[in-house]
């Protein structure tokens, strides 16, 4: 409507200008000053009309001052003016998309109000009632989708037996219509179905049917990749996971894990960042955390933990800080989703609880299906609404003082030598090192991840990793460097520090 109004105003303005030129045909003074200006104005008006009328126009509309002046002269209301500017912005965005290779000329075909009935008919043809969509979603589709792509997406969804519920799946439907295309849907459907997923199941992770990054880079390398999230900056969010899904399927296959297994226990692993998944799978393998469960779990903890980038430091800290830390971690790897920092208060509370009240105090033992499992006491987890931060007055300001943790000092700044060089690739030769061989007698016979120095628990992988790194950077293997590796990031009291120092002393 607004577009038609604007075109009308422009056409009237052109006629008025022509009348003015005709009226002043013999007026040399007027012609010398105004004729060229008025002719130029008319050319600009015609340019705008062409852009507005031709749905495949590839020219930007830049004469906003002219349009603004025209709207003001004709007393167009504020609201209507805003609608016109909105349309022009959308139009220019589409042209920009086309120019950077982000959409085809077919996609330039913007929907105007005249096309709403066409759109509704299209929906009906494929069994969907456009009017049942929430109005905001209708607006987005009209605003951002092209008729041609809608047709192709609907056709491809039909061919692959996808049936969306117009009310329940409104957001997903909108996302597919504006963010997907027939080739992505076809390709991913083929892959998903080949891995045993049904069309209904694919829709529960529908983002996999949406292109992840619009990276049609043209030969002119000035054009950058354009992620669909950037396109809709103030509108709805549409996130494609097509690439990550493909890579994750491959990755899981390498580890012998089926898509079906993951889908049934934590389907979102299939759409998480492949970089994160890849890293976590390696990490969990190093620590022996199994991805398999015999039980049918609604939300399997270990798979849940794959959804966030995890670090060895946090895992090592759980292993060391409490006698039940490792057991709790194995059954609740999902705790890694919550704890991102070695400074998290949960570590200080676990340490304090164990030191002052014994190993049982921090946990609740649950027996379920003849299996015993641990849960953290709310006062220690710090996540309980009742006990948040209240336990033993341990908070950010008091945690060091209350726990009285000892920070050892060494003759060298070992950390500066190894930071950014620590790797999980541990050399085979480290196992021949006399210090490692010496402390083997402290290996916990029940738990291969632990050394137990008379109650002081140390993560074995940590020691191997840090000590190996120190030797690789040229640090001499001696009592001090080994002690540093042993106690790297360990929460320890002064007394325990003295005790363990004596236990690992090899020199004089």
């Amino acid at each position: 409507m607004m577009v038609k109004r604007l075109i009308d105003l422009l056409q009237k303005a052109i006629i008025k200008n022509k009348e003015m030129i005709a009226l002043n045909k013999n007026n040399n003074d007027w012609n010398n000053v105004y004729k060229k200006q008025v002719e130029k104005e008319n050319r600009n008006y015609k340019k705008i009309i062409t852009a507005l009328s031709d749905s495949k126009s590839r020219n930007f509309i830049t004469d906003l001052e002219i349009i603004d002046k025209l709207l003001e002269i004709n007393n167009v209301s504020e609201e209507n003016r805003n609608d016109i500017y909105q349309f022009i912005l959308k139009y220019n965005k589409k042209v920009y998309d086309y120019k950077i290779g982000n959409c085809s000329i077919k996609d330039l075909e913007l929907l105007g109000e005249n096309d709403i009935s066409k759109l509704k008919k299209l929906f009906t043809k494929y069994g969907y009632d456009f009017d049942k969509l929430p109005s905001k979603i209708q607006e987005v589709i009209v605003d951002k989708a092209s008729i041609n792509n809608i047709k192709e997406v609907f056709e491809t969804l039909l061919n692959n037996n996808y049936k969306l519920n117009i009310e329940k799946d409104a957001y997903l439907l909108m996302s597919l219509l504006i963010g997907s295309n027939k080739s992505t849907i076809s390709k991913i459907s083929k892959l998903a179905f080949s891995k045993g997923l049904t069309s209904d199941e694919v829709l529960t992770i529908g983002g996999i049917l949406i292109e992840q990054s619009k990276n049609k880079v043209r030969s002119n390398k000035l054009y950058e990749r354009f992620n669909i999230e950037n396109v809709i900056d103030d509108g709805p969010r549409v996130v494609g996971s097509e690439e990550d899904f493909e890579k994750n399927v491959k990755e899981l296959g390498k580890w012998g894990i089926s898509v079906r297994y993951i889908y049934d226990r934590c389907k979102y692993v299939l759409i998480c960042s492949n970089e994160v998944l890849s890293h976590n799978l390696s990490l969990f393998q190093d620590y022996g955390f199994s991805l398999k469960t015999k039980n049918n779990k609604l939300c399997f903890s270990t798979l849940s933990a794959l959804l966030k980038y995890n670090t060895v430091e946090i895992i090592d800290r759980f292993i060391e800080v409490h006698p039940f830390g490792l057991e709790y971690l194995k059954n609740n790897l999902s705790i890694l989703r919550q704890v991102s920092s070695l400074e998290d208060l949960v570590f200080y509370k676990l340490y304090y609880s164990n030191k002052n009240f014994g190993s049982e105090a921090a946990f609740i033992k649950i027996v379920n299906n003849n299996l015993s499992q641990l849960a953290l006491q709310g006062k220690v987890s710090g996540l309980s609404s009742t006990y948040y931060n209240a336990y033993a007055n341990i908070n950010e300001d008091s945690k060091y003082i209350i726990t009285n943790i000892f920070i050892p000092t060494y003759s060298r700044d070992y950390y500066s030598l190894i930071k950014n060089k620590i790797s999980n690739d541990i050399s085979a030769t480290i196992f021949d090192n006399k210090y490692i061989q010496c402390v083997n007698r402290y290996s916990d016979y029940k738990e291969p991840l632990l050394y137990d120095f008379d109650g002081i628990r140390i993560s074995k992988l940590k020691v191997l990793r840090i000590f190996d790194t120190l030797l690789k950077v040229g640090v001499e293997a001696n009592d001090e460097s080994f002690l540093y590796a042993l106690l790297y990031n360990t929460m320890i009291s002064r007394d325990d520090f003295v005790k363990i120092s004596k236990m690992v002393k090899l020199e004089g």
């Binding site: 009310e167 329940k168 799946d169 957001y171 997903l172 996302s175 529960t204 992770i205 529908g206 983002g207 999230e229 709805p236 969010r237 549409v238 996130v239 996971s241 990550d244 934590c266 979102y268 759409i271 998480c272 960042s273 994160v276 779990k297 609604l298 939300c299 399997f300 903890s301 849940s304 959804l307 966030k308 059954n331 609740n332 999902s334 705790i335 989703r337 919550q338 609740i364 649950i366 379920n368 499992q373 849960a375 953290l376 006491q377 709310g378 987890s381 996540l383 309980s384 609404s385 009742t386």
Partner: protein
């Protein structure tokens, strides 16, 4: 994510949900608003007090089909399970 404000969830919590979760998971969450609403209402009805923490740290729980989730809860002593979850959100791993 604005629909979460119907449940008194603040902008700050919504921000933490977005920051703590993969954007693909957040997108799936937005696509499943109806199911999420039902699950939140269910959690409120059984006395779970840590809904915000579950949203921030275990967002995928809310995407479990409502009927399956309820059935799973009801295979336990619900009040006991709720108490455990209120102490440690990882108790949902029992489901």
């Amino acid at each position: 994510m604005e629909f979460l404000k119907e449940f008194g969830i603040t902008d700050e919590v919504i921000y933490r949900i977005e920051v703590n979760n993969d954007k693909a998971l957040v997108f799936s969450f937005i696509c499943s608003k109806d199911n999420v609403r039902k699950n939140i209402e269910y959690f409120e009805s059984i006395g779970i007090e840590v809904i915000e923490l579950l949203l921030i740290y275990r967002l995928e729980i809310f995407l479990i089909d409502y009927e399956i989730l309820v059935k799973s809860f009801e295979s336990f002593q619900v009040p006991t399970l709720v108490q455990l979850i209120n102490e440690d959100i990882n108790a949902v791993n029992l489901l």
